[in-house]
Assembly symmetry: C2
Homo-oligomer: 353 residues x 2
């Protein structure tokens, strides 16, 4: 193991199930440690991983995991990295940047997917430049999952496009529908359009136009159609009124960060309340395990990161503060998306239009 | 007491402190009961109230409160009411609709403020039509408070304007600054512009333009200037990174409803976790009182509703599901805004421009 190129035995064959996941191994706020540990966990679960980044650092980090030598993990040297404070457009002139190496491995069929906890703008830019768009998709969108009553709500776009057109929202509704069908086995997921009133006539000019387009898509054939519920409001996201909520990348990003931020603050208040006096402290001790389960449910890492939908290749974007568990979940989700042939199925759905 | 007109002793004098609050007494999802009970509580706290609505129903409801006869409460008959399912524009042709009677009482100087838990669009429309805009304000905005770390965050617009211009955001930042100065004694509150990245160059086209305007306002004289912090993100709202967060009415409304909806679902999960087994149930019993305090902190009614800023008269808009406590808090807040001369001080600030 630990070959310095991707030409090792793992990546040599075209067998889809055995293709490794290319992990941008120095990406994210926490550096190599959680990425490498997450890769080790994913490899132990049977998913081969290409660790892309500065060779010596990655080997050193790998060396800290005893027993990792027998795992399907390779290191691919990429001396350059796009820092969190650099511009997304910097990916253009830097072919050796780790994220560019990851997306190129996908493009060349040597990796099943690119996964990065690093600069999300750079990851998007690299995927777009290297992999290109699915025919019929004007703009790729970032899809994510939020914990909600009885499961999770699928939300997109959460940040790829701050300014959008109504047609994008309609395309994203179709992409997300196929995504849930392929990855979650939901045959006919419901789609809600985020607005500021349930009534059809309420909302911004953009929402009114998108509403009409989504209404048209509702009831088309299984390949192209969506199951449009109508407008939903902010409170419907946690109520899980619909399986999918579609919105522009500005509102979606605010929603995602607000939801995560509020969960954090509220759980902090609950903990505070449970240690405010002796009686509460005793009660807090008794309920500790249950609250830990709740905290895990609210952890963004539980859902395996976000996926960039609409590019011709699998690209997963994780939280900058992802721990090893979140990295592992993202890698496993990427492998599952590859096995389920997500990209070909998205292309087929749009090819029918 | 119970005079049928507003020409009673309470409303006859121009003494600001003694002017009653006009309450749209049948407004809201729960009808007369919480409005009348809230009015009784406010009157007991020393704030005179005009109950505006269908006379017989209001007298009947008032009759259920023993001891209310001696309180400074009058009933003003308004046979018509704008239903929750009617259009906001319906206020135009219906002068006897309760919300129109309320705003007219303010316009005529017979009430200090209009307060409604009813149709918020109709309340806005009525206030705009009857009271007009403050000079220099293009569009009024709805300002509200969200619970946050160590206090609350002031957010606007939360729904009056789905489509906006950058100049509106700059005006709202000034309105909110004066509001917090006058009502909360915060001399120099910080203003954040809601965006999808802290960096100045990130955000939608609208945000980039608004950022430049807010930057200009920063550092002007005390009368016109604002204390601009820069861009903030969704997670900054509960962290209380800034005192004020300014955004368009679409995003703000989504934020408000998401925040309320998430708090509700999360508290439900905490309660569920505390009753999942015997051990947790026992713990739950011990922490019950503390959690009740937390639930109250998260209750939108705690903050006394929202205020429509930018019209020439005080107008408060409450949650449709407001209980008596929320109604009382909104009435008390309205009285405080009147005593503090909020509208004249807003006019003075804009007059200086």
């Amino acid at each position: 193991m630990s070959a310095e190129t991707a030409a090792g035995p793992v990546a040599s064959g075209p067998v889809p199930g055995a293709l490794p996941i290319a992990l941008d191994a120095l990406g994210g706020d926490l550096g190599a440690a959680p990425n490498v540990e997450g890769a080790v966990q994913a490899a132990r679960a049977g998913v081969p991983v290409l660790l892309v980044g500065e060779r010596t650092r990655l080997h050193a980090e790998l060396g800290r995991h005893t027993g990792s030598a027998g795992l399907p993990i390779e290191v691919i040297d990429a001396p350059d990295v796009i820092g969190m404070d650099e511009h997304a457009s910097d990916v253009r002139g830097r072919p050796e940047a780790s994220i560019n190496v990851c997306t190129r491995l996908v493009k060349e069929g040597r990796a099943a997917a690119a996964v990065s906890m690093g600069h999300s703008g750079a990851t998007m830019a690299s995927a777009l430049l290297t992999l290109g768009r699915i025919r019929g998709v004007d703009r790729p969108a970032i899809l994510t999952h939020l914990p909600a009553q009885g499961g999770f709500t699928t939300l997109l776009d959460v940040g790829a496009n701050a300014d959008v057109k109504a047609a994008y929202l309609a395309q994203w509704a179709r992409l997300a529908t196929v995504y849930l069908r392929v990855l979650e086995g939901q045959e006919n997921p419901t789609v809600g359009l985020l607005s500021i009133g349930e009534e059809d006539h309420k909302g911004s000019a953009l929402v009114l136009e998108a509403h009409a387009l989504l209404r048209e898509l509702h009831g088309l054939g299984h390949g192209q159609g969506i199951n449009f519920y109508g407008n939903v409001e902010g409170n419907d996201i946690f109520k899980r009124t619909t399986d999918i909520v579609v919105t522009d990348g500005f509102t979606g990003n605010v929603v995602l960060k607000l939801a995560e931020g509020e969960a954090k603050v509220l759980l902090g208040w609950v903990k505070e309340a449970l240690s405010s006096d002796l009686r509460s402290k005793l009660g807090g001790l008794l309920v500790r395990t249950r609250l830990r389960g709740l905290a895990e449910r609210l952890d963004p890492g539980t859902y395996g990161g976000s996926v960039l939908l609409g590019v011709r290749g699998l690209t997963f974007i994780g939280h900058g503060k992802s721990d090893a568990r979140a990295v592992k979940n993202a890698v496993l989700r990427a492998a599952r998306a590859h096995e389920a042939q997500l990209v070909p199925r998205l292309e087929a759905a749009f090819g029918a239009s």
